[in-house]
């Protein structure tokens, strides 16, 4: 279980410090994605497919460098390519590694009705447990980033696991390991946030990107994947990254008002009918003794 609870603290008869000791200094993990030094090599896409043992699939060509229009149930990691015209008329690539954001307040988990189909580990990873998934796709609608995908054959939903199996063993996610430019990094949330802030400051002060900033949206309680963007004021430019990702209010109402009210109704209506019978009694056919069929 990649929960950190089995992190070894001491080993009998072992010389020197415990390997991996201190890895759990902080529980919250985070993937850092610096879009400004991504070269679009797609090594992360390949690493993801390889590590997660997914078959290579046909890709779509639609006049971009992008592998597919969107992530798929067996393609969890996708670099989005956007040509952006700058104010001076020059073009630049905006390349963003699209995958599950591992929200602190996950819309998928909130919407899911199946017991145990979506879990959130203490380290912040949101993971789907396909053996419990019923294929209702409530998570698809609950996700503000349009990430979960149904496998139509098995009727199970899949998405990036942030390599919870690797992270549980003290390893970084496969995509991070494969990245050749240092665009991807992995560590505690605090460290990654500090690194991202420093990089954004550098971009603003030294590299001339006045609007550079860090994408860690508060509207979903922060995410366990954060972006450094050249222009943090317009995240939509990066393949439609939402500026203000939200779980619809109706979900909260649905979950916390409508459901309990209906259950209470179900719980009380039946006894109410029963006690009406006790208090008021039935409407007998008149006159008494006139009988029934």
């Amino acid at each position: 279980m990649p929960t950190g609870t089995l992190q070894i603290k001491a080993i009998s008869g072992h010389p020197g410090p415990v390997p991996g000791d201190g890895v759990q200094r902080e529980e919250d993990v985070c993937k850092y994605v610096d879009t400004t030094i991504c070269i679009g090599c797609k090594a992360c896409e390949v690493a993801c497919v390889e590590w997660n043992d997914m078959p290579f699939r046909e890709t779509t060509f639609d006049n971009t460098y992008q592998t597919l229009p969107k992530t798929e149930w067996n393609y969890w990691n996708l670099i989005t390519f956007d040509e952006h015209r700058r104010n001076d008329g020059t073009l630049m690539w905006l390349m963003r590694k699209d995958q599950c954001m591992h929200c602190e307040d996950p819309g998928c988990l909130k919407a899911c009705p199946a017991d145990g189909a979506i879990v959130q580990y203490t380290n912040g990873i949101v993971d789907f447990q396909q053996e419990h998934c019923i294929g209702c796709q409530y998570c698809v609608s609950g996700c503000p980033f349009d990430i979960p995908r149904l496998n139509p054959k098995t009727k199970k939903v899949y998405k990036c696991t942030l390599c919870s199996d690797r992270v549980g063993q003290g390893l970084e996610p496969a995509c991070v390991k494969a990245c050749p430019t240092g665009s991807l990094k992995f560590g505690t949330k605090t460290d990654m946030k500090a690194m991202a802030d420093a990089r954004a400051t550098q971009l603003r002060d030294v590299s001339g990107f006045a609007d550079a900033g860090v994408y860690d949206p508060a509207s979903v309680g922060g995410t366990h994947v954060i972006y450094v963007l050249h222009d943090a004021t317009r995240p939509e430019l990066y393949g439609g990254l939402p500026a203000n990702p939200r779980i619809p209010v109706s979900y909260t109402f649905w979950k916390h008002v409508a459901k309990p009210v209906a259950l209470l109704l179900a719980l009380f209506a039946a006894p109410a009918a029963f006690f009406h019978y006790i208090v008021e009694g039935p409407k007998d056919v008149q006159p008494p003794g006139a009988g029934e069929p």
Binding site: K155, A258, G291, P293
Partner: protein
Amino acid sequence: MSTPRADHLGQPAGDRAAALPTDRISERTHDGRTDRAGRAHRAVRAHELVRHPVHTRVLHWVVAIFFVLSLFSGFAIYSPWLFAWITPLFGGGPMTRLLHPWFSLGFVIAFALQVMNWYRLMAWTPDDTRWMRDLRGYVTNAEPVEPPYVGFFNGGQKLYFWTIAVSALLFLVSGLPMWFPVTFGRGAVAVSYVVHDLAAIVMLGGFFVHIYEGTLAQPGTFHSMTRGTVSRAWAWTHHPRWYRDATGRDPVADYDAATARAEARAREDR
């Protein structure tokens, strides 16, 4: 009782034929026509009235079966507290999810047929408004017999019927985006969850009342939906105007006569 009961109306056996021309009347259905192919006739005994002909009963129970299946499979997905109890009944979570929309489609189609069957009888009239105004009296059993203006269905039954009709429509409209979330998009689904729930709350509340009224609260009513018939006394007690329409007799007079007979018999017994 000293004298043997002649029949369930408490009439002397000799009077029966004179008092009630049963053969002719008993074949009549709610709209006064003879039941198709005389099928109801087989089930009808003396002093009974056909309330629900065969097609109405079959339709009702098809609706009921689909409703209960939809209700339970829906509740399983609806609430984490019920998920573990109910999903095994349908073969597990994924199967429950797969079946629910089909059950519901069956319900909507069957109920649509019931609407076609009943919409005339269910038309709202000023008498129904009048009935609703005295709902308190109905609930507290203030009067033993319904007022003479109550026809084939009373205001409460009509209200329940149209509530289900509207809820079924809401269920259908909100259910489709939840069935095909990718086609309809996130916004439509977000609204649909709430609409689906509100429809469920309304329908569930009505469902409890319906079951109670159809069984415990009114002896004799359940039989009208199983074998199709009710006693004449049932008819003048609960739906006097229908009694008048179906038999051509005065419900109040017949009720008074039956009461008088019952009193006379009680005196005799003493």
